[in-house]
């Protein structure tokens, strides 16, 4: 009897602990959905990247290697796209348009590339111009080394900051114990370059011999969401954790985000990676997801088109197949909301220049969220 009382007490305590999780880690169905989703571009497989040209046309990357130009309901394949290493998570990945595109016409593409002596691939960044539905003036800006046949973690999201620097992510390529904490190796890092590929002289590791000079942060796992904060101008990223421990981080010069030394996640097999979630000299995320939602794509809502949404962050969930809205108070997540439940694997979400939100879903296509008053 005594024993059973102890067990009861233990049970009560455990229940309280498990209920004591932060409310920020609960996600609820949206009470109000200020939009109706319309499938604008159909027949897509893995629409990885999405960008808008000044004339309202969309550029969509398919992971398999196609670059699609979409305007007035018409899809056109852009030719002369470099060959991609389509294996595992690799392929043709993100696309971005230069902030001053009207003047200079530069497009940016990230993809898994086989260039180099080793078998396999790694992330490459190019810029090019669009002429008569073909890529021309292709310039290689960056190619991570070495190649590997591992299928994971190419990173590849783009963002420009207010000064015109280009940021991009490269994941740790399935080699967590080698790449993210080693400044002399590519992978597990956020990079910062000039729009023509030159390395800024004030990059944080420029003075360190052997260091990857283009690196801006390290200790990242696989960031597949990147967006510029509309007010502060800071670059925000999210990154896939292992099992549990997806994170949102703010990119700060020279910071170490701790992977795999600290993490809120565990191995897929259930075994621990580390018992540490924090350590001096390593940056804490502003939010982490347990369980993992497998975040992909991220945008801030800057327009007034959707009631109650301005200033929120939108993130796609691959594993739970919905669109997540995170209400923010500064850098604190105050509420999480589930939208488009069971829509499919949400690969990307972008706010267009028209203030409208576009959502890319695997096996389906691009949805336009038509605002509802």
């Amino acid at each position: 009897m005594k024993k059973s009382i102890h067990i009861m007490c233990l049970f009560v305590v455990l229940t309280q602990i498990s209920c004591g999780q932060d409310p920020e880690n609960e996600v609820n169905n949206a009470k109000i959905t200020p939009f109706e989703a319309e499938l604008l571009v159909d027949g897509l497989q893995i629409p990885w990247g999405l960008a808008f040209l000044p004339d309202g046309a969309m550029l969509i990357t398919e992971k398999s290697g196609e670059l699609i130009h979409f305007k007035n309901g018409k899809k056109t394949m852009v030719s002369n796209v470099p060959p991609v290493y389509n294996r595992g998570q690799g392929g043709l990945l993100d696309v971005a348009v230069h902030p001053d595109y009207i003047q200079n016409g530069w497009l940016y593409l990230s993809f898994a590339s086989e260039e180099g002596p080793e078998k396999g691939g790694n992330t490459a960044i190019i810029r090019a111009k669009l002429d008569n539905m073909a890529l021309v003036n292709i310039e290689k800006l960056y190619k991570a080394t070495p190649n590997t046949t591992k299928g994971q973690h190419f990173g590849s999201r783009f963002a420009f900051d207010k000064e015109g620097y280009l940021y991009f992510s490269i994941g740790e390529r399935g080699d967590r114990d080698t790449n993210p904490q080693d400044l002399s190796r590519d992978g597990g890092k956020i990079y910062r370059i000039h729009d023509d590929g030159r390395i800024p002289e004030d990059n944080p590791f420029i003075g360190q011999e052997d260091a990857v000079k283009a690196a801006y942060t390290y200790g990242n796992r696989n960031p597949q969401g990147m967006a510029r904060h509309p007010q502060t101008g800071e670059i925000w990223i999210h990154e896939h954790g292992p099992r549990g421990g997806d994170e949102i981080n703010i990119v700060k010069k020279g910071n170490n985000y701790g992977w795999p030394v600290i993490t809120y996640g565990i191995n897929y097999s259930g075994t621990p990676i580390t018992d540490k979630t924090e350590m001096e000299g390593m940056t804490q995320p502003i939010h982490y997801w347990v369980p993992s939602i497998a975040p992909s794509g991220m945008t801030f809502v800057t327009s007034d088109k959707y009631r109650g949404w301005k200033g929120s962050l939108l993130v796609g969930s691959l594993s739970f197949q919905y669109l997540e809205r995170l209400a923010l108070d500064g850098t604190k997540v105050t509420q999480r909301e589930k939208l488009m439940t069971d829509i499919g694997r949400v690969r990307n979400v972008v706010e267009g220049p028209d203030g409208i939100i576009y959502v890319a879903v695997e096996g389906k296509g691009i949805y336009r969220l038509n605002p509802v008053k």
Partner: protein, 133 residues
């Protein structure tokens, strides 16, 4: 006595062949395990349990064990559209992983002989090569 010798030789040969194949299967499964952890585990999970209504299970999957050629095709080229696994309809997409034929055979040998699965004869590279899209 005359009959004994051929039977003896046959049995020894059969055992040797069996042991040899078994060893070959083990080696293939070992390689396949690595492929699994690289390309499959994020969705189908460490013990092939899958995710209800989203990613079909591989452990105890009737589809996998009964539709061998379709399974090879799915791993080799990807899979899209409705499939029924253990009475549950899945309508999702698995991308083309870009695996080489040998890797397809290895990962299938691992899946077909793990977590209680009894997947029959070893999948060979030739068998994978013969499957077209």
């Amino acid at each position: 006595m005359k009959i004994f010798l051929p039977i003896y030789i046959f049995l020894v040969g059969a055992i040797a062949l069996h042991l040899f194949q078994d060893k070959e299967l083990q080696a293939s499964m070992e390689r396949g395990k690595e492929i699994y952890q690289d390309f499959c585990v994020t969705c189908h999970l460490p013990s092939g349990e899958g995710v209800a209504n989203t990613f079909p299970p591989l452990a105890g999957s009737d589809y996998l064990l009964e539709k061998r050629e379709s399974s090879i095709r799915a791993v080799k080229f990807g899979q899209q559209g409705e499939i029924v696994v253990n009475g549950v309809t899945y309508d999702n997409m698995m991308m083309n992983m870009g695996l080489e034929d040998e890797e397809v055979a290895d990962v299938l040998n691992y899946i077909l002989h793990s977590w209680g699965n009894e997947g029959g004869a070893m999948v060979t590279v030739e068998e994978v090569s013969a499957v077209s899209q």
